[in-house]
Symmetry: C2
Subunit: 649 residues, 2 copies
């Protein structure tokens, strides 16, 4: 078995991007119309990769955890997002270039400019750059590189560590204090203003019903809560799950698939008893270690991570509850399974000001890539926020009603009205009086009871209406009450996946170049998600190969493995190179020995090792490899190496 | 094996709708906010059914035919739909209620009102209704039922057969002539006006970039044509395929899932040589018979269908070409496979005025249901329309360049200019003169050649500019030209599936009630698409059943079959009834005999037959049933009937 050196060449983003474009993983949408920032189309390779990721997600979460799948509407009437708080608060701060009028996202501007200054400083100190560029072009608006005072550099680092914690006025203050200009023009920027990120539209022909494109799928789960609960026979906890498109009208998206205006999400809303956030399967994950960056570390201006056993993290209160921790582990397991590099994954806790308006705690699974650390999965505790606001707005009860095993028995003061006397005495005001009495709490009832002992008293409502009453009007007695139903609004733990971000980082984590030739890129995608698992290459267009190719295809398909045939006229070598770029893990070559001796050669993508065996044997080994039943070294034990020569007539 | 009578009770839409709501197949979106017409959410049953239909679609089309999958953007900048013709022409005619201002779709109004009059007439003639309802309520705006003259009834029928062929002014004329009012208010309606069905929005924070939500996925395929062609190694024919959400801002949607504002489509764009629309696999489908309703029959005011062998339909010119016919067969096979009733499927050809602006021929797969015959799949020949308009607008070549096996050799007149003399003589006008000469066709060159034989002549451009020339300025000679590349814009055959419509009709076609109890509804969905294939029911919550249930689950999963466990406290009978409504084909009951003797009972949904065998035997038979390897009678041969009694300790 050949040894493989995947790190011979350092990561080169431009090469990867060229590969992704050439092999049509994705491309700017509306490219022939000049494109639109933040909108991308997935080609055959990207679509297939995405479909495989979604398929695994569905198995790992929906099927494994028996979640209830949903497919809800994107176009949403305005009142829903008014209630959810998105109309008022789902916004980013933007600043205007004072001369060109271009809009920039304020926090990204600060990050870019201060980050650049720190990088320049680093370069100058290490001697890899010149302090003043004498030949600087007039048109180049890039400010000259300068060395920073130690204190200034330290201040910048602290700002960047806390960046997500600043509000608009604070970002404006930072721009002024640190003379942060638009880097494209070197113009000053104005005061930050808020821009709502939801796309707006109008439903129906009248223009009277404004709508928004959903920025998350979550509201679709909450609005259907009662139906879901009923489907689950009234029992909690349960989770709903949805995979679908969402939209955010980003201010000036510039980071490829990492910041887009339209994207596919996979969201889980796990509804749980607020008094019991334990998870029945927690014991099975308690020993897993995660890399954590908690809020206290960040608020102290640091980004140093800790490796913690999840069981300890919950016990120490670093992670708030078992359910949140259980999902963090499951998220981590999913990401590793599809091929994310474990060394470039961490969970970062949100800081106070950074949290979305609906969340009480949130941990992001962040993946490191050439743009930095990027949030790819959020895992938030939304508490009872959403169900509460929708229930209040619509008057619909969004609650769980649970029969108590043992009824709660308690004593309390209970008022009983004599309706006849009340009606006769207060006539039209009887209802006001009745409502007032029914609204009295324990303490008020005790007080009224003692006042009535005097034979007569006056009751005054909040609106200032007075009623004179005697003990004839009502009796107040201490009674034993039995409560057999508990009613509560469940809390929600929400793991929310940005599939496009995960897909992009996955490509970065699996891209490398052959040691002997930097131009020969390889995507080492695991068979589980690779767009094509097996490539079948007939040596030439000779008709004799056709039935063998068809037979291999059919056999693989019966094992549930979908292969592709490449019968193009290119050399086998070129076809293999193309498939290394497409991430195809295995290649089968049909040649004259296949016709005469029934043999087949098998090529492994990463090692470029070739093995030989009978057609049936090789097909069965490929099936085992694709299903993860064996790995390549095990396959090599079963198949002899192919030396590239075979005696054929 | 029990006999099943599925037609004991006539179809009852209200019962079906109650079932679909109760079992959360789908529900009005934003229901707790009062709902929005034409927007629906799919619950767990509907999502799973939809996912299974999509899965089968992907296998049947994308994998089986090696199509290139795409996933493109919904939010589309305005220029794309300006070019494609949708901004100008993707509209419906609507009329306004003259008093309430409500908007109604004009063709639907005509259909509803004339259809009702015909139905009333029918009722009166058959004696099932009274001509004048003496107790008619004042508020009821329904016009009284009247008998129609035979000629009037005939006229209505003719109008309805041609309804899709009328334009706006004609629909307005129909409303006036036949006194067609808004049936909800009995108010007159105004003149029809056009309403564009695309939802509008705005991209980015400036408000300067209008966008539309795509009303079809097709443009995403066309805009990526060059990349797709390149991915396919420059070869045609090939097909791209996409499953995704589209949006149409319907005027007043009222037909449940059949007319919605947001829907999931599955679209194929098959790119083909315009001079060769043969299909390589046509022979394999030529003997299939389809039910056809061609345009000539409809234009003669009839809706009588013909059963035709596809081979004959192409030979006789009823279906325009092999590729169109091939896809019609594949569409039909797909619909039958997922459970559509073959007797309620037909292909209807579009009439001239009815065709979308981009189509040259179109056949709809229509499925009959309680709303009538509904288009569920369109199969259109879009010719070169889209690629041509986008290419013209953007200046990007969207063509196939094909090396000719044998170069085309032909003789032609060729003009060769003496650039020096032309430049010197005509100076600034030289370019105009050159362009004019280069644009001359064969005949004009022959004429000019003979004129030059006189030594001098005058050339006049289309703009009226004259040039006096002599043979020194140019020579015109007959030359042999060799063309080795053929360049052409491919044509497109487009099968386009409305998945929500198919899903709804599938539910109607598979719904029935038990003969002995009309309230016991059953959905006889084929295992291929049923939301859950196998239900595992432990008799009670006894702990002894748990390992057996887990074992059966795991065994089924290894066969790729996902089961559900129903361990709720309801009786087995109630759990079975619930699963009949959910369309679950098989039930496995774990009882004390399972614990003591290792047996398992298997229940079939439609017959309610119960069979018994060892756990392994039953699990293996269920797997075969779900994969369609055996049918129920075959399973019955392998398993004895269960009489409901077993000796256990």
């Amino acid at each position: 078995m050949a040894a493989v050196n995947k790190t011979a060449h350092s990561f080169d983003k431009a090469r990867l991007e060229a590969l992704l474009s050439r092999r049509f993983f994705y491309a700017p949408a509306f490219e022939i119309y000049g494109g639109v920032a933040g909108l991308y189309d997935y080609g055959p390779s990207g679509s297939s990769l995405q479909a495989n990721i979604i398929n695994e997600w569905r198995k790992h979460f929906i099927i494994e955890e028996a979640m209830l799948e949903l497919d809800t509407t994107i176009m949403t009437p305005a009142p829903v997002f008014e209630t959810s708080g998105h109309v008022a608060r789902f916004a980013d701060w933007m600043v205007k270039d004072t001369k060109t009028g271009d809009m920039l996202r304020a926090d990204h501007l600060v990050k870019t400019v201060l980050g650049q200054r720190l990088a320049d400083d680093e370069e100058l100190r290490s001697g890899t750059a010149q302090p003043v560029d004498a030949k600087k072009k007039k048109k180049d608006k890039t400010p000259p590189k300068v060395k920073l005072e130690a204190a200034v550099a330290k201040e910048y680092e602290t700002i960047l560590a806390q960046l997500d914690n600043y509000d608009g006025p604070q970002l404006g203050e930072l721009c002024r204090t640190h003379k942060i200009h638009n880097p494209d023009t070197d113009n000053e920027v104005g005061e930050p203003s808020q821009f709502n990120l939801m796309f707006t539209s109008s439903i129906g022909p009248t223009g009277r019903f404004p709508g928004y494109l959903r920025p998350e799928t979550a509201q679709g789960h909450f609005l259907n809560f009662s139906r879901l609960l009923d489907f689950n026979n009234g029992k909690v906890p349960f989770a709903s799950a949805q995979i679908g498109r969402s939209f955010r009208n980003e201010i000036s998206p510039r980071a490829g698939l990492l910041r887009v205006r339209e994207f596919t999400m996979a969201e889980i809303e796990h509804f749980v008893d607020p008094d019991d956030k334990k998870h029945p399967k927690f014991a099975s994950v308690a020993d897993v270690e995660l890399t954590l960056l908690d809020r206290h570390v960040q608020e102290a201006g640091s980004t140093e991570v800790k490796r913690l056993r999840v069981g300890d993290a919950v016990a120490n209160g670093v992670i708030a509850n078992e359910t949140l921790a259980y999902f963090m582990v499951r998220i981590s397991q999913f990401l590793l399974k599809i091929g994310i590099d474990p060394k470039r994954m961490r969970f970062r806790q949100h800081m106070g000001n950074e949290m979305a308006h609906y969340a009480t705690d949130c941990w992001d699974a962040e993946l490191q890539n050439s743009y930095g650390w990027t949030e790819c999965v959020g895992c938030a505790d939304r508490a009872a926020y959403d169900l509460t606001v929708h229930s209040k707005k619509t008057g619909q009860q969004l609650v769980v009603r649970e029969s108590l095993r043992e009824p709660i028995v308690r004593e309390a003061e209970v008022a009983e009205l004599n309706k006849k006397i009340v009606g006769k005495s207060f006539k039209g005001d009887a209802a006001i009086f009745t409502k007032h009495i029914e609204g009295l709490d324990e303490a008020a009832l005790v007080e009224l009871k003692s006042a009535l002992l005097n034979g007569k008293t006056t009751v005054t409502t909040a609106e200032g209406k007075s009623f004179e009453i005697t003990p004839e009007f009502l009796t107040i007695e201490r009674k034993t009450l039995k409560q057999s139903i508990r009613e509560y609004t469940p809390n929600v733990i929400e793991p929310s996946f940005g599939l496009g971000r995960i897909l992009y980082v996955l490509l970065e984590h699996n891209y490398w170049s052959r040691e002997q030739d930097v131009d020969r890129g390889v995507l080492s995608l695991p068979p589980l998600v690779a767009p094509t698992k097996v490539l079948i290459c007939p040596l030439s267009s000779n008709k004799e190969f056709e039935p063998i190719v068809a037979d291999i295809s059919a056999k693989l398909r019966r094992s549930g493995i979908f292969s592709k045939v490449d019968d193009s006229s290119q050399t086998i070598g070129k076809r293999y190179s193309r498939n290394d770029e497409l991430g195809t893990p295995y290649g089968l070559t049909v040649d004259f020995a296949s016709v005469q001796k029934g043999t087949l050669t098998l090529r492994e993508r990463d090692t470029m090792d070739q093995r030989i065996g009978s057609i049936d044997e090789v097909v069965s080994i490929v099936a085992d490899l694709c299903e993860g039943k064996i790995d390549w070294p095990q396959a090599c034990e079963r198949l002899p190496a192919y030396d590239g020569k075979q005696a054929v007539d």
